[in-house]
């Protein structure tokens, strides 16, 4: 029971307490003390409102702490005490405190790894040790990262609020990038991390129901996640084209497609919505051959207008090959400045082979371009499969 409340409500309790006491560190300490106290206080069953109990207990603990500090003539503590004693713990009707916390964690004055670590720590309620394990870094490294980020919020006085409307689009991009990074880190082989990203994206969607890019990001995650059961067989990567589509998760697909339909109705496309729409077209196709490639290509054209980078053009070329043939696609691919990107060479190799030309060199470059063992094995297998025929 307590574990479940902790997991679901830790971020909310910290968000409320941070507003009330004005310090993330103090808020975290107080919320953790409150959960520790709950272990005995809830022995005979939880109170009617567990989160309310946690917030009230944490607030009292924080006020006790501030009283002790204030007694030592700590001016800041005295001011914080006045604020904490007077401030309501009820949340405003319009905005959840967690939204302030998300924007503070993802503030552009913090570097990306710090944004990611803080978001998982404060909103996700993950311990530093858990985050370190998920990101495959030593725990002291992650602890130092979190401590440094919290110190910067305090010392540089990064504000605790939702940005003004004028700054919102840019600041929201940073929040979405953090969540998507957590997802892509977890996509390969750490489903728990991807699951955290989905959980946080669901929370953000709940908090910002009118932002189509938030819905787009959640849809993109769900539709990508739906393929997890089919994406590897006995440890080998299976690309989209070779996946057993009967293993795809239908419930996730349905939810993702529903979100995409909602985005289309809103008519304010953005990069996450367009990527989600592309994933939705694939998810609706019974096979590669039966995929609506013309729709995929149209969506990539739109995506390229939002994101004119070469990676989008590379992916667009894959769709173009299905609609207009490999020669047209290769003409698009050749001039792209993606020499150091292994997928560039893999796409080139595939197109060269389909044109009956020598692709040996392109395959070698693709294989040399990635450190991921599963990806390498997959590229080798593709190279050898074509050689054998």
């Amino acid at each position: 029971m307590i574990e479940q409340v902790y997991r679901e409500q830790y971020g909310r309790a910290v968000a409320i307490l941070t507003r009330v006491v004005g310090s993330i560190d103090l808020a975290e300490d107080a919320v953790q003390e409150a959960f520790a106290a709950a272990a005995t206080a809830w022995a005979d069953g939880p109170p009617p409102s567990p989160v309310g109990w946690i917030v009230t207990t944490a607030r009292n603990r924080a006020i006790d702490h501030l009283r002790r500090e204030a007694a030592r003539a700590d001016k800041l503590a005295q001011a914080a005490l006045l604020h904490a004693a007077a401030g309501p713990t009820e949340e405003g009707p319009v905005r959840d405190d967690r939204l302030r916390l998300i924007f503070t964690c993802c503030h552009p004055a913090l570097n990306r790894p710090a944004q990611v670590a803080l978001t998982l720590r404060l909103l996700g309620g993950l311990s530093t040790a858990e985050i370190a394990r998920l990101f495959l870094v030593p725990e002291p490294t992650m602890a130092a990262r979190v401590t440094r980020a919290k110190a910067k919020i305090r010392d540089a006085r990064i504000p605790y609020r939702v940005p003004a409307d004028a700054d919102l689009p840019e600041r929201l991009r940073s929040v979405l990038a953090v969540l998507y990074l957590v997802f892509t880190e977890g996509w390969h082989d750490r489903p728990a991390l991807a699951g955290e990203a989905v959980r946080l994206a669901r929370l953000l969607r709940e908090l910002m129901p009118d932002e189509p890019e938030v819905a787009g990001l959640l849809a993109l995650m769900l539709l990508t996640e739906s393929r997890r059961p089919a994406r590897s067989v006995e440890g080998r990567l299976v690309p989209l084209a070779g996946q057993d589509r009967s293993r795809w998760d239908r419930a996730l697909i349905q939810e993702g497609q529903e979100l995409v339909r909602g985005c289309v109705r809103r008519g304010r496309p953005g990069t996450y919505q367009l990527q989600a729409a592309i994933a939705a077209v694939h998810s609706a196709a019974p096979s590669v051959a039966a995929t609506d490639w013309a729709a995929v290509l149209t969506l990539y054209d739109q995506l390229a207008r939002h994101d004119p980078g070469p990676v989008v053009r590379l992916h667009r070329a894959v769709a173009l090959a299905e609609v207009a043939g490999p020669a047209a696609a290769l003409a698009e691919v050749e001039p792209l400045a993606l020499e150091s990107y292994h997928l560039f060479h893999a796409v080139r190799a595939d197109l060269l082979e389909r044109l009956g030309r020598d692709a040996g060199d392109a395959w070698e470059r693709a294989i040399a371009g990635t450190d991921d063992p599963a990806e390498r094995a997959h590229l080798r297998a593709r190279r050898d499969a074509r050689r054998g025929t």
Binding site: H107, A109, D155, R157, I158, P159, P163, D167
Partner: protein
């Protein structure tokens, strides 16, 4: 309200043409007037290049020139008194756009 130092990172080497400098100077005056009007101005100044610097070491030794040779030096600075980092960053963004050089924002300690 909190104090922040905004310092301009100027690359070592040439300065812009006089005509260009005059345009930048006029825009800076306008920006400073805005910061004053907002009640957030404490102090601002431009600095001579490190060629004009003199360093006094803890043992009393006086030497000519900068303490360390760098690719960049502090070309000028503001001290502002603003509510939080976001306000300081917004003034820094405007300042950097006017000068065409990076502006570092540092909170005062204590």
């Amino acid at each position: 309200m909190s104090h922040y130092l905004l310092d301009i990172w100027q690359p070592a080497g040439g300065t812009p043409e006089p005509a260009e400098l005059a345009v930048i100077g006029a825009r800076l005056d306008a920006l400073n007037a805005e910061i004053r009007a907002a009640g957030e101005f404490v102090f601002a100044a431009g600095l001579h290049s490190p060629d004009a610097a003199t360093v006094v070491r803890p043992d009393g030794l006086v030497t000519d020139g900068p303490y360390v040779e760098g690719k960049e030096f502090v070309g000028g600075f503001w001290i502002l008194d603003v509510p939080d980092l976001d306000v300081a960053l917004e003034w820094a963004r405007r300042a950097a756009a006017v000068i065409g050089l990076p502006v570092e924002v540092r909170p005062f300690a204590g």
